[in-house]
């Protein structure tokens, strides 16, 4: 259910921004006394490509992990596509609900360590969830998986298992696997950080392609600043559990408003 606090516009001439597909409202995450997220408010518009940058430990990855339900917020409201994913009051014990499981299906994730299933071929990795979660027929699932493997340039590798593939190839299969679930939101958690330098390009090409050709919402945590600048509609700078600055890439990279953003970019762009 969508919160009905805002009345829907009756006339079309009232220009309103579309409802956000992702909304964090006063979300906190504590690890013991360490506050990873501090009452975060954060929104992403449908179809928007957002890159999150910032020093490690700033809470960027936690945002993705809360969205993917790999972590529970300590407090706050998270909605995805109008449905409540998390609604946590501080101190409350959180259970995995049916609502959470259904909302989660709108989200896919690409991990830093790929996390392919090593005992299954590329094809089997991709068709597993469409068949057993979406209830798709095996023939259809395989056909779509083959298309997706072609899309990521690995049409010839469908029968290879992860140990037979390079890191870059594994990550491309992982992207195809996430896409096979037709997510509305795709999360990338430092998708190239575990790769050898010469393999980064092939993965970035695939992500760039997706960013330019799909209306899927993409949220990426990355240290690839030039890539973030190139593909993002918006870049958000995180530090110490809070968003310190948010804006179009041109502004963040060429004319950052916050001193924290300036020092961070100076440090990472030096080499």
């Amino acid at each position: 259910m969508r919160p009905s606090t805002e009345p829907q516009p009756l006339s079309a001439d009232v220009a309103l921004a579309p409802d956000p597909i992702i909304r964090f409202q006063n979300v906190s995450k504590n690890w013991g006394s360490n506050q990873v997220l501090k009452s975060l408010n954060f929104e992403v518009a449908p179809g928007e490509k957002v890159s999150i940058i910032g020093p490690s430990g700033s809470g960027k990855t936690t945002i993705l992990r809360i969205l993917m339900t790999l972590e529970t917020p300590t407090e706050g409201l998270v909605t995805v596509d109008g449905d409540t994913l998390w609604d946590v009051t501080a101190g409350q014990k959180v259970r995995e609900t049916k609502q959470l499981r259904e909302t989660r299906r709108k989200i896919g994730m690409v991990f830093q360590q790929f996390n392919l299933f090593p005992h299954m071929t590329a094809m089997e990795n991709i068709i597993e969830a469409p068949i057993h979660v979406l209830g798709m027929g095996k023939a259809e699932a395989k056909e779509r998986a083959a298309d997706l493997l072609n899309l990521v340039g690995l049409g010839k590798h469908m029968n290879h298992t992860p140990p037979q593939m390079s890191g870059g190839q594994q990550q491309r299969v992982a992207i195809a696997r996430a896409l096979a679930m037709r997510p509305k939101v795709l999360l990338f958690d430092e998708p190239t950080s575990a790769l050898d330098p010469e393999l980064i390009g092939e993965v970035l090409n695939v992500i760039r392609n997706l960013a330019h050709t799909t209306d899927m919402t993409m949220l990426m945590v990355t240290h690839e600043m030039r890539f973030a600048e190139e593909i993002s509609d918006r870049v958000v700078m995180f530090d110490n559990g809070a968003a310190v600055e948010s804006g179009p890439p041109a502004q963040i990279f060429k004319d950052p408003q916050q001193e924290r953003t300036r020092t961070f970019l100076r440090a990472v762009l030096q080499h």
């Binding site: 993917m68 339900t69 790999l70 499981r101 989660r104 299906r105 989200i107 896919g108 994730m109 991990f111 360590q113 996390n115 392919l116 299933f117 090593p118 005992h119 597993e128 969830a129 057993h132 979660v133 140990p163 696997r177 996430a178 679930m181």
Partner: protein, 218 residues
């Protein structure tokens, strides 16, 4: 006492029959232990209130008491409460349940060895719990512990001699019976030992090879 080859040859077929019973106990017992142990390991990991602690206690209890005591209880005490099976069936169940407690620990280490990223990928794909266990976690967990399970099979093969105490006529009981009825223990016991070795030594070589083959993939 001097080795009597004629006597040895004459009782050898009897010993082979005993060996065959020992092999049957080992295979059936291992099957039971492997299935039950997996079940216990998964139940413990699921952390279900009441049930998981009960399983944990059962595993500790079985591991903390001697196999011989368990065999006696099952064979001599349980019939008083109306639970009564023949010696062979009782033997298989006792040794199978006993080893299931050890194998549960082996599986547990295998399950713990599956990287957390595998669970996370399953969550990210919204795979149902049964599918996550059956298709993602257990195939990887079991694969790495196959050699350890093999070691337990060999150990059970030798331990099954304990079941002679509850009148299971396996290899050891056969050797003992031959000895006591002929007043000659040298030949039957020596040959029984050699038969145990003839199976367990090649089997342990095989397990060594499995260890190399089933090295973790990650």
């Amino acid at each position: 006492m001097i080795w009597d080859s004629n006597f040895a040859v004459s009782v050898f077929p009897l010993l082979l029959e005993g060996l065959w019973v020992t092999i049957q106990i080992t295979l059936l017992g291992t099957l039971l232990a492997a299935v039950l142990g997996l079940f216990f390991a998964v139940l413990r990991r699921l952390a279900i209130p009441v049930l998981s602690p009960v399983v944990s206690f059962f595993v500790v209890f079985v591991r903390g008491t001697p196999l011989l005591v368990q065999a006696y209880c099952a064979f001599f005490v349980l019939p008083a409460y109306g639970v009564s099976f023949d010696a062979f069936t009782t033997g298989v169940v006792v040794i199978g349940v006993n080893y299931s407690a050890y194998m549960a620990e082996v599986y547990r280490s295998g399950i713990q060895g599956v990287p957390s990223g595998q669970w996370e990928a399953a969550t990210a794909l919204s795979l149902p719990g049964v599918r996550t266990w059956g298709r993602i976690i257990l195939p990887q967990a079991v694969r790495t512990v196959v050699p350890m399970l093999g070691n337990y099979l060999i150990q059970m093969f030798k331990d099954s001699a304990v079941l002679s105490a509850i009148t299971v006529v396996e290899l050891m009981a056969t050797a003992q019976a031959i000895g006591s009825s002929n007043f000659r223990y040298l030949e039957p016991l020596t040959m029984a030992a050699m038969l145990f070795l003839a199976i367990s030594y090649p089997a342990s070589r095989l397990v060594n090879r499995l260890e190399r083959r089933y090295a973790p993939q990650h």
